[in-house]
Structures are given as C-alpha cells and as structure tokens.
C-alpha cells in the first residue's frame, strides 16, 4: 500500500439547504492516479476544490501530505498549494497575461529566480505539455486544447507533488481528449506525481486511472481498480459505465 498523499475523511459540504458531499472517504496514494467519476452536479469538482482549500468542509477532514488543511487560513494554505497544482475546467488562465506570463506567474510569486532561469523553466514546462511558439499569445488567441495545456503548464511550473484535474477532456474533440489523456499519463510516469482526475468521461477515466472512485449521492459508492470497476455489480456504476456517462 502506497503512503497516502491526499486523504478525505468523512467530508460533508452543503450549499445552502442542498447537501453536495455527505461523508466522503477517499485515500490517494503517493504517485497514484485516481479518477473520480460521477454525473454532472454530483459534487466531484467540489471535492477537488476542497483539496487546495478553495472550499472549506462543513464537517470532516482533508489531509494533504500529512497536514490537515480544512479550515486553515489562506496564509497557512500557501505551502499546501505550492505542493498541489490544479488544472481548472476551462483552464482559468489569466486573460490579461500572455501564455509566458501565466506560466511564469507562480515562479515569480514563489521563487527568487532570475528572469533567465524563469524563462528556461517556462520553456521546459511548455515542452512537457507539447506547446511551442505560443509564449507571446494571449489566452484568447488559443484553441480550447491549447488553453488547457497552457493551464497545465502553469499548474506544473512549481513542480508540484500532486496535480488535480477538473474535467480535463470536457469540451475537447476525441483526438485532443486523447492527447490530454496521454499527457496526464506522461506526467505521472515522468514526474511521479500523485493525480486526481475528476471527470464524467469514461474513456478518459479508463485511459488514465490506476484506481477509480465513483461518487454518487454525495459519497464514494465504489472504489477499486480499473478492472474491478469494469466488473463491479453496483447498478448505478454499471449504468454510468454502460451509458458512457451521463452529464
């Protein structure tokens, strides 16, 4: 059993009267890629956002690299956020900055590197996500797939130990989606990072997962390997897998 890098313990979250998470338990081992499956509105993204303190749970604990982070002040979350990169669904690139400035942003913020070293690192991570000749472009000039890759480059610029992917293939054509899946796999193999991928794209899930967790009714109702997921008798999961997702 790998050492757990991220751990959700009995996480509850409601928005107003509507409960979204109702006792999530999940462990993600170091270097492991766990895909959290679930329909639209099932709370997958909400769970992911808890991992870097963008949401605070109403109840329960979230552990990242041995530190319980739920309820920590923004300043106290800095170290955790430096360890965990996040790829947002639409990329969330800063649209007033060029691709170069976006990717350089965390480096300028958290290192005292000279500009030459920053430029070298920016080029290195852009190569890792297979982007070239886009440094001077604004996010608005990029296609959807390029924007996601640029956002991924920004997320890995600080060499985080874990990467969170929020719907990485949503809105992309199958070829681009495959490209992103391959990239997630590559990053895991080359950098050995822990990854959580939240998606309702079954194809993507099977392509990148070491383990699959299925979120339904605000809880994890299945947690197992890809093979176990394929054979699982759970009717909700079966329906989800056979329907190719619903959402």
């Amino acid at each position: 059993m790998r050492r757990p890098f991220i751990r959700y313990v009995d996480v509850h979250k409601a928005f107003g009267p509507k409960p979204v998470l109702r006792g999530v338990h999940l462990e993600v081992g170091e270097g492991e890629t766990v895909v959290v499956l679930g329909g639209s509105g099932s709370g997958k993204s909400v769970l992911l956002r808890h991992t870097v303190g963008l949401h605070v749970p109403d109840r329960g604990e979230i552990w990242v690299d041995g530190v319980e982070i739920s309820g920590l002040e923004e300043e106290a979350l800095v170290e955790t956020r430096k360890k965990v990169g996040m790829l947002f669904q639409a990329g969330a690139l800063f649209d007033s900055m060029t691709v170069y400035e976006n990717v350089a942003f965390p480096l300028r913020e958290h290192t005292d590197w000279e500009e030459a070293r920053i430029a070298e690192r920016v080029r290195e991570v852009l190569r890792l996500v297979e982007l070239a000749d886009v440094e001077d472009l604004l996010p608005a000039d990029l296609s959807g797939g390029m924007r996601k890759r640029a956002a991924l480059a920004r997320a890995i610029a600080l060499a985080p130990r874990a990467i969170l992917y929020d719907e990485p293939t949503t809105g992309l054509d199958p070829i681009l989606a495959n490209h992103i899946n391959r990239m997630i796999r590559n990053l895991q193999q080359r950098l050995g990072v822990t990854s959580i991928v939240v998606t309702h794209d079954i194809h993507s899930a099977f392509a990148v997962a070491d383990r699959i967790a299925f979120l339904c009714d605000g809880r994890i109702c299945f947690d197992g390997t890809v093979e176990e997921a394929r054979r699982a008798p759970d009717p909700l999961l079966r329906n989800f897998l056979e329907g190719g997702g619903y959402g």
Partner: protein
Amino acid sequence: MGGAVSEIFAYLGGLVRLSWAVLRCTFQRRFEVELWMDQLFQLGVRSLTITNLTLLFTGMVLAVQTAYSLRAYGGQTFVGDIVALSIVRELGPVLAALVVAGRVGAGITAELGTMAVTEQVDALRALAANPVKKLVVPRVGALVIILPLLTVLAMTVGIFGGMVMAMFEVGQSRAFYIAHVRDALEVQDIGSGLGKSVFFAVFIALIACYNGLRATGGADGVGKATTNTVVLGSVSVIVSDFFLTKAFLLF
C-alpha cells in the same frame, strides 16, 4: 423585510472584512510596483477626458446660471467667486467621483467579476497568491492617488469653463475673473474638496472590487454586479458627501 436587512448587514460586513484585508495587505512585504503603475494608468489616464469634460461644462453652465440669477441684484461681479467656491468645495469632487464611479467602478467590477466567474480568482488562490493583494490593493491604492489628481485638474478646467462664460456672456475681463477666484478660495476649501475625493476613491474602489469578487452566475451575474456598483458607488458618494462636508466644516 428581515431578509433584506440581514442581507444589507451581510454586505456591509463583507465590505468591512475586505477593507481590513486591504489594510493588512497594503503594508505587507513585496510591494507590487508594476500592478500599481498599471492601475494608475488604467484608472487615471482613461478617466481624464470624461472628468474634464464634465467639469468644463459644469463650470460654464454655473457661470451662465449665476450671472442670470444675480443680474437683478447687480451681483454679476461675483460670478468668479461663486463658480470657484461651488466647484472647489462641492461640484468638483462630487461630479468627478460620480463620473469615476460610473466609468472606473463599472470597469473594475466587470473585470474582477469576469475573473471570478471564469475561476481566475480561484486559480490565483490555488497558485498560493492572495487575490486581495494582487487585485484589490493596487486598484484601491491607484484610485486613492488618482481621484484627487483628476479632481484638481477637473476643478481647474471647471473654473476655466466659468471664465470663458464670464468673459463672453457677462463681459468680464480675464484678470477680473481670476482675481475674484483667488479672493474667494482659501486653502481649507481646496483641502476639504480633495479630502472628500480621497474618501470617495476608497468607497468606489472597495464597492467595485467587492462586487466583482463576489459575482456569480456567468455573464448575467457580472452584469448585475456592474450595475450594482454604479448604483451603490454613486449613492455612497452622494450620501457620504453630506457627512464629509459636515465633518470638514468642523476643522
């Protein structure tokens, strides 16, 4: 009724929390010079035309109206005094602030609101950067610097507008008008006008940033937040003007 009251208090509470965060971040290490310069340019240079145009015509109409009203009493000689005092003590700071609340306040809310609904503000937080320090402090700081400067310039233009009308409508000489302006104005008048504009800048920038950061619900939400900023920003200028005027009269 109870819901509306608690909503108002929640809003004010949020504004106070944001003000406190701005105060704390302003004096934190690593001063963001580039962000401040960028905002000074964005907020200042782009507002110059509209504040000056507003005060130019206000000065002109004030001179015409004053001359017309005082003609029966032979008080036309006081056009310069009345234009200068009205513009420096009241109309300059208030009108410049109202125009800026519309032009700059709306722009800030639309920009930050778009960032909020497209998860860029969350991305900032996820990258361990502080959105208050990166987005709010430079905007509040820049507006506190730039609004008094815009106001001084607009006041000057307004008094100039009054002079043009005094010369061509009333038949005064330039020297006569300027002498009256100089006689009428005291340092306290200018201090009170500029002091007010500093407060107006804080109110407008905080309301605009707060509304932007809490925007939800896509383009519709950003639109509502922007409208809200223009309304609340303008109302805060008008209402606080009364209390600030009373306060400055004490000194």
